[in-house]
């Protein structure tokens, strides 16, 4: 594993919420990760291509606008097909339409193959700590 770990960051689907994405880029960079930020409106293919190209250790998917459930479905399968089936997948933001109990949402995304799922408004430090743990850094 290279000294600086690469992560791929982006907001999936037709979602344009850019603010959190910009902050995640700044904070993960600050924490020493190499961040490949795809910005907003990123398709599943773009995420995977970027991860493959940069040999990334994790893909951090944001979805704020509510369509996450539809946009994220099948991402893990596509990762497998592209030979990065074991890559860490994190998801965060406002992952479903409406206010729902987070445990439901978490279960749904885990079912979809995400390794970690975050509730609305989680602070970046939490994810940074998790990532270090999951990668054994």
């Amino acid at each position: 594993m290279p000294r600086t770990t690469t992560i791929v960051l982006g907001v999936i689907g037709a979602d344009v919420h850019a603010v959190g994405n910009k902050i995640l880029e700044m904070t993960f960079s600050d924490a020493g990760f190499k961040v490949v930020n795809l910005g907003v409106m990123v398709s599943q293919e773009e995420f995977i291509n970027a991860a493959v190209e940069t040999d990334a250790a994790a893909i951090l998917v944001s979805s704020l606008y509510g369509h996450g459930e539809m946009d994220c479905r099948g991402l893990r399968e596509k990762c497998r097909e592209s030979g990065i089936g074991k890559i860490l997948l994190y998801a965060g933001g406002n992952l479903v339409v409406g206010k729902r109990t987070f445990s439901q949402v978490e279960a749904m995304y885990r079912e979809m193959g995400f390794d970690r799922v975050y509730p609305p408004g989680v602070m970046p430090d939490v994810a940074i700590a998790d990532l270090r743990k999951d990668l054994g850094l």
Partner: protein, 483 residues
Amino acid sequence: MALENRKWEQTLLEESRRQVLAGWPTGREVDLEDAMNYHRSLGQERISYHKLRRGQQEGVTFLQPRAGVALLDEHINLLNSLEHQGAADFLPTTIDSYTRLNRYQEADRGIEESKAAGRSMLNGLPAVNYGVKNCRRIVAATGVPVQIRHGTPDARLLAEITLAAGFTDFEGGGISYNIPYAKNISLQQSLSDWQYVDRLCGLYAEGGIIINREMFGPLTGTLVPPFISHAVGIIEALLAAEQGVRSIAVGYGQGGNLIQDTAALRTLRRLARHYLDRFGYQDVFVSTVFHQWMGGFPQDEARAFGVIAWGAATAALAGVDKVIVKTPHEALGVPTAEANVAGLLCTRQVMRMLAEQNVQATQRLADEEQVIEREVGEVIAAVLDLGEGDLAAGVVRSFAAGVLDVPFAPSRCAKGAMMPVRDLRGAIRLLHPGNLPLSRETLDWHRLKIEERGREERREPDFRMVIDDIYAISKGMLVGKPR
């Protein structure tokens, strides 16, 4: 055809309309004659333009929520609650994100999945997919004006269908519905597509049907200095007026500092009128819109009510024609009808309690107003300059040069070279002006204000301070404190 700020020829419009209407099967339903007749059948209290005019005459401030769900009947029920339990003065129909990007196929899937799941899987109503006849059911089911709210860079088909359906109010503009809402769409494209929408409204106006067009003031909703959104809104108003739009609302998103917000609302009204008159659009009716806090909300509902109420208080004390209301669910997800009603009731309570009070005229208020007026003047002059007199061309070149700029925007068209931050009292100032065409005097004002905060907090103002400010409201403050 090169983009310019000139009223479209009839032939161009006709040709474009044919193409647009062919873009999705429901386009076939559009029949202008029938549409105008339907509009003529509406009472004045259901027509935005008339209601806004009456409100201004009587000094009333109106409330409007945001709301839209995937399924038509549910959407109508939702609007009924907002009108009857929430006493909304204006109703919305918020459009889903697939439709906003003209992905009607995906919207169709969203409708199907919503039916299957028994809950809305879309974050709004896919009006294009429903078509004219279905959408008219919404208008028919409501007793107050209904506005289309979206965030669509290319809203031509959406406008065709919803105006034909009888909606009397349409939000958006070539800048404000591109820069915060898209990534790769050029301003040439979006400005031209919005000329179409505006020209379509002009067509209605020629038939005696005045559609209200609202410019989306808050932009990215995140630390946008008033002069930026003012400049954008006024430019969009001028572009719309040129195409024959006769009723224009300009908007502003709450910043949080009462004096700055008051100055912003007062100058917005004055400046919009001033520029429209200056360019010969004296007959255009102008109103103002205030958006309660548009940035990240606190998750706790009691705290969210606090944010909502402070927005309401600001609107009441500063004075404005319409308020767009947030809900206690804001941080968590698309609100339920109940949460939306709660936002309306809380807002109404505060606004009526404060109806007899206002922000006192002080030197500080006068200073803030003067600064905003100077800034807007400097920016618009530079845009016209770059456009060699043409506003539309000027906008495209100005964004490319960073002479117009919007913070935290997803769009590649925005340079993002300017960086805002709050001053000691929470007013939004410029940390880095980027390439904004501001005078030394103006820049000094910003610099001094920010230095003052830096001294107080004993830190060099930088991106960390900005991040603290972005998180601030959701953590219960306005000015982000050092961690």
